[in-house]
């Protein structure tokens, strides 16, 4: 059985939409961040599949940058969550209504 690029792209689309569902539906900030991680990983998979079936390494170089940016994003995002929890004792996105007049 031959696995083409379409299989990988459809798998990447499914993973992206699962992550998007998590970002929209869940109210816990940590789960939202995990959903963002899933979406970034789905993008990585599509880039590596393009790199493999196109026959050059540019897609994998881009994945390298994506992984770095995702690590930076997680570090800053988790620091923000710790800071929010320290001030408001809450990690739900529904509870953060302090800017409401």
């Amino acid at each position: 059985m031959k696995i083409g690029i379409e299989h990988y792209l459809i798998l990447s689309a499914i993973l992206f939409c699962v992550g998007l569902f998590g970002v929209i539906a869940r109210r816990n900030l940590l789960i939202i961040l995990m959903g963002v991680e899933l979406m970034l990983n789905a993008g990585n998979l599509a880039l590596v599949a393009f790199s493999r079936f196109n026959g050059n390494l540019d897609g994998q170089l881009m994945v390298f940058f994506t992984i770095t940016v995702a690590a930076a994003e997680v570090a800053v995002g988790l620091a923000l969550i710790v800071s929010i929890y320290r001030w408001f004792k809450a990690t739900g996105s529904d509870d953060l209504t302090f800017m409401k007049l």
């Binding site: 459809i10 689309a13 993973l15 998590g22 929209i24 940590l30 493999r52 930076a72 988790l78 710790v82």
Partner: protein
Amino acid sequence: MEGILFYIISAIAVLCAVMVVANPFSKNPITSALFLVVTIISLAGLFVLLNAFFIAIVQIVVYAGAVIVLFLFVLMLIDLNEEQKRRIKFASIISGLIGAGAMIYVITFALCKSAFSFVSRNAIEGSPSALGNAFFSRGEFLLPFEVVSVLLLVSICGAIYIAAKDKNKL
């Protein structure tokens, strides 16, 4: 052989991704973090199937080794009992399904419309030496590579500053 491996690994990845965002058995975020580890390791397996060996190792080291540990550290600092009682609202499930369904419709529509002309003619290996040559000998990715290191430094300093308790002592 490759087809069987692809289907097994992708089934594991999709199942565990669903368990990350919508676990019907427990609302504990630690369970979600551990399922995220399984998803990431299975994605590393898919990278090995795609001949991207260095990216697979980096995926395991950075995600399963660093990002998940960071998640678990933060989960230890936070009182999770309150989170267990939180219910997922019906309206947010509906809106999430609509959003994700619209997205997957758009992507599959675009995939059906596009014809991929390139076939797998020369399967190159993404070994560390090949990636290093592509980074440093061609030169067009050299400046972004250095800028990314500055980005990591800035994010470390920013994370320490944001999460610090007493900002006057920094």
